[in-house]
Symmetry: C2
Subunit: 341 residues, 2 copies
């Protein structure tokens, strides 16, 4: 974990950095004396100074105010636990956050942590990914500092065959977060792409460790293009891609987006554990861009054409074929052919 940025401690307690930031934020004007910091936190003035220096290194603008102490002038839009946790209201998700400057893949880190027993709701985020993973072995472009790359560990009491339901849940959560932080209208393209104006803005890669009759854990992998510029997209993308910035015309706070996403996930997952898949499916269907349309689904060498009628309990896309039969499609890439006549 050499590229580790910062992580919240196990068990939901606050780090010293988080406590210092909380003290700054509780003060109108944001000035706190070294003496007060040292007294409240029960550490030496030298330790306080060391932590202030560490926060500056993370991108916090903290000024010395002669004979008064320190003032917090600005906080960075960095996806670190100190900031994500500061205003997060969730029950399970994000109680522990682990942030990286850069990592191979947040899904890989989360998978390893889950195997080692990390608790449900643990979140792994990174400013950049060296080998960001897309679905079906594809690459996910992960330039530094402009987007959100995060992975959430869940341990639902499910049969493995029901796991795709959580893919739909995470798509709905991303749509909610977009709606909460921008004026944009997202659509979901089955199974797990988020589109704005027909261009892909987010993707989901959910991975699972399971036995035949039991889910060990699921990793919800979520990549959202937030402030990515046109020239940061590779030229050879197979589908048009975009970012919230490109569609909405203004920058979006990555932190605000991350908090909105984790809160949406938390609320949806909470409801899912009580009420099941029904409400998620209903919201997903309302956000879908394919219902009632004629689509072609390609997967490896096969191709199916039909009118999209819905999704079933197992997440399969239901396609009405030309002969009237309904086929369950379990995987593939969807192309919309035309609106149904």
């Amino acid at each position: 974990m050499k590229d580790l940025f910062s992580q919240s401690p196990d068990g939901g307690t606050q780090t010293l950095d988080q406590q210092i930031l909380a003290l700054f934020r509780a003060k109108p004007g944001g000035v706190v004396s070294g003496e007060e910091l040292s007294g409240v936190l029960q550490v030496s003035r030298t330790a306080v100074w060391k932590h202030i220096k560490g926060l500056k290194a993370l991108g916090y603008r903290i000024e010395a105010v002669p004979s008064q102490g320190y003032r917090l002038v600005a906080a960075p839009d960095l996806l670190i636990p100190e900031e994500i946790a500061a205003a997060l209201v969730t029950r399970r998700i994000g109680r522990r956050v682990i942030s990286f400057r850069e990592t191979d893949s947040t899904n890989e880190v989360a998978f390893r942590l889950a195997e080692e027993g990390a608790e449900e709701g643990t979140v792994v985020v990174a400013e950049a990914q060296r080998r960001g993973k897309g679905r079906l072995g594809r690459r996910w472009e992960s330039p530094t500092g402009v987007n959100l790359y995060c992975s959430v560990i869940l341990r639902p009491p499910l049969l493995p065959v029901k796991a795709p339901q959580l893919t739909f849940l995470s798509a709905v959560a991303v749509a909610r977060a977009i709606t909460a932080t921008t004026p944009l209208h997202p659509f979901i393209k089955w199974p797990n792409d988020l589109l704005i104006n027909g261009r892909k803005v987010a993707g989901l890669l959910n991975e699972m460790s399971s036995e035949t009759e039991k889910v060990n854990f699921i990793i919800l992998g979520i990549g959202v293009n937030i402030n990515m510029r046109r020239d940061q997209f590779p030229a050879d993308l197979r589908h048009p891609a975009t970012s919230l910035f490109l569609e909405g015309g203004e920058e979006v706070s990555r932190l605000a987006f991350a908090r909105a996403l984790l809160e949406a996930l938390d609320a949806l997952y909470d409801a899912y554990l009580v009420d099941g898949y029904g409400p998620v499916r209903k919201e997903w269907l309302a956000l879908s861009n394919v219902l009632g349309k004629r689509v072609r689904v390609t997967f490896q060498e096969s191709e199916t054409v039909g009118v999209a009628e819905g999704i079933d309990e197992d997440g399969a896309l239901l396609l009405q074929l030309a002969d009237g039969r309904v086929e369950r499609v379990l995987a593939g890439d969807v192309t919309i052919l035309q609106a149904k006549g």
Copy 2:
């Protein structure tokens, strides 16, 4: 891997130990001179002597024959690559074998190796397991030196929803291995227990790493009670258990069984990749002890009673209920209530 016994090298080449054993076995009478060993293997006499000593430590009986060399008198019934590989005829499975004196769980080791990229067909075996895993979080009794505990890494090009098909494939392979090495008649109890005379003799625990639309790898975990004695079973087992020895009245060579199992798995998997699930399903149904019988399936708090009609593409047990409807049961414990009238 401190309890590692022995492992075959990557890429299917032979260890020096394996080459030495092959030379012994090629000789009628089994006597080979130190000079010949040294010459053929291109190592010093001292190195030969060191390896002979190592083989003795593994349990081989090798005698010095004055002025002639060494004689291999007996090989141990140990589940080590030197022996398993010696007479194994397979295409994929068992080309690499990793053996442990003792390990927590062969499935855990295999899962970790698969994550690190171990090739399809890699086999992990152990003489004993400290925390042998049964299905649904249960324990699998794993005393030392009497049974077979092994895990096989597969990387099938499958949708995750089809993965239970490989559970049935491994059940059929165990049945074939029992039939090949004993006069006993095994039955399969859905989903994955092997029974002889109504008592459980083997269990399967298959684990998977997957994405929504892709299997990363599957671990076939197989535990077979081979020469286990009555007093080695715990008193509190929920179902009656047995061993091949207890049912057949004589010891079974664990090595012969392991080879028969790996060969059966290899042949079945090879056919599965070409011909699909049909032949496996047919053989499974012929071995099933529930078809046409009234059974109760309990899972967590739910219970379903019906007449077992078969298994479907996804491995679900098809139960005809009292009202004539057919229910798909995805998980649970089966109790046979009575033969259908």
